[in-house]
């Protein structure tokens, strides 16, 4: 689970552009306001999507803390790394280490 959610991220960028727009040249200001409009649309769409269910993550986190996965530790790490890699592919792909296997 990561905060803020997609809608908030989009609104944050929209607000930032609205804030700097007055200080821009007239063409850039116009485009910044168009960007604000585009982001507001995407934010509204994001708000309509059903909220993500964090229960599986909460359950897994609690299990790990209780030691329920100690007996198959490497399997757990491999699975968590797979999830983390998939997430990084969206968040910052160039942070993923190049694969060492051919």
């Amino acid at each position: 689970m990561y905060r803020p959610d997609d809608a908030d991220l989009l609104r944050t960028v929209a607000d930032f552009l609205a804030g700097i727009a007055p200080g821009l040249s007239s063409e850039a200001r116009y485009q910044a306001l168009v960007c604000q409009h585009i982001l507001a649309m995407l934010a509204r769409a994001a708000e309509l999507r059903p909220p993500e269910d964090h229960t599986p993550a909460r359950v897994l986190a609690a299990e790990i803390r209780a030691g329920a996965h100690d007996a198959h530790w490497e399997t757990l790490l491999a699975r968590l790394l797979e999830d983390a890699t998939a997430r990084l592919a969206l968040i910052k792909p160039d942070h993923i280490a190049p694969s060492t296997t051919p």
Partner: protein, 329 residues
């Protein structure tokens, strides 16, 4: 809090006049910058024929259960460490309720560069800087836990894994990857002995240097009692090597070299395995601070940079898992 430059100057001048008498002339030296949860202002002050540059640090918001020392705790700590000869900014005075500015305190300005990319640009300066940092750290750790007796009751001064776990729990954000890291730390936990006063946020970005010489250690708001390797491990955490991954110690030297320099300066160097333990700890702790910033954004301390912090946790989780899997050194 006052906002315009002239209001800030007037507030600062009044604070000085209350303490020093006379009519100090005050000029804001730079545009105020907002970093993290503090407002830092730099003033040039002329008083009794002398001009000096002073730095004002104010806490811009006080959170309940903050992981940071209060301005008053920071000020008292600075008095002790500066008084003991550690290269830290000289504390001048603390604001009180009669001042327009504050809560916070005022320090003497120290010249130097703190931005990592600029500091690390000249690699020929790295050996000197690494040696001076190791030396200053050894000196700090030699002061002993008595100098940090005010800090003994902090959660961080107890079991570090329990303290970090509690900080993460307070954020109510499930992260299985971080749990795996905490589980590993708990199962490989360190002895509770051997604690001393540690800086608590010793990393490239938190010291001032000029021409390869260390000018001052900054940002003492995370200081607590811990084993010395806590500072060394945080310094070596993968997140702040600034592209120089093989130079584990802050992008300046290898882990082994930094330990050698620390021992050479009279420090009781921990073994490599303990430093690695604290680097794993560091990735989880850094993730916690990023979660805190993301949550702060949601609760009203808003900016694009703070908003991005929440997703940055994914980078720390990846680094943590790669380290636990043995793929990262």
């Amino acid at each position: 809090m006052p906002a315009s430059p002239s209001e800030l100057e007037a507030g600062f001048a009044a604070a000085l006049a209350r303490r020093w008498g006379g009519q100090p002339a005050v000029r804001l030296a730079f545009q105020p910058s907002l970093g993290g949860s503090n407002r830092t202002l730099v003033f040039d002050v002329t008083h009794a024929g002398q001009t000096r540059r002073l730095v004002s640090r104010e806490e811009s918001f006080a959170q309940s259960h903050s992981p940071f020392l209060t301005p008053s705790q920071q000020f008292h700590l600075l008095q002790r460490v500066h008084g003991a000869g550690i290269r830290a900014p000289e504390p001048v005075f603390a604001y009180d309720s009669a001042d327009a500015l504050g809560p916070g305190y005022v320090m003497a300005h120290v010249a130097g560069e703190s931005l990592p990319r600029r500091l690390l640009a000249d690699t020929s300066q790295h050996p000197q800087l690494a040696a001076e940092l190791a030396c200053e750290l050894a000196k700090l750790h030699a002061l002993g836990p008595e100098l940090g007796v005010e800090l003994a009751k902090l959660p961080e001064s107890g079991d570090p894994v329990a303290a970090l776990t509690a900080r993460i729990d307070a954020l109510d954000e499930p992260h299985p990857a971080l749990e795996a890291g905490l589980r590993w730390l708990a199962r490989n936990n360190l002895p509770p002995s051997g604690k001393t006063l540690v800086h608590g946020d010793f990393r490239t970005g938190n010291f001032l240097a000029e021409s390869g010489r260390l000018a001052a250690l900054l940002d003492w708001e995370c200081s607590h009692l811990a084993r010395p390797a806590a500072d060394i491990g945080w310094f070596c955490t993968r997140s702040w090597r600034f592209g120089r991954i093989a130079q584990q110690a802050g992008g300046l030297a290898t882990r082994a070299e930094f330990l050698r320099l620390y021992a050479q300066a009279g420090g009781a160097a921990p073994d490599l395995e303990e430093v690695r333990w604290w680097e794993i700890f560091g990735l989880i702790r850094w993730a916690m601070y990023n979660m805190l910033q993301g949550l702060g954004h949601v609760h009203g301390r808003r900016s694009p940079a703070y908003a991005a912090c929440g997703r940055n946790v994914a980078l720390m989780e990846y680094d943590l898992l790669m380290t636990l899997r043995g793929k990262y050194d």
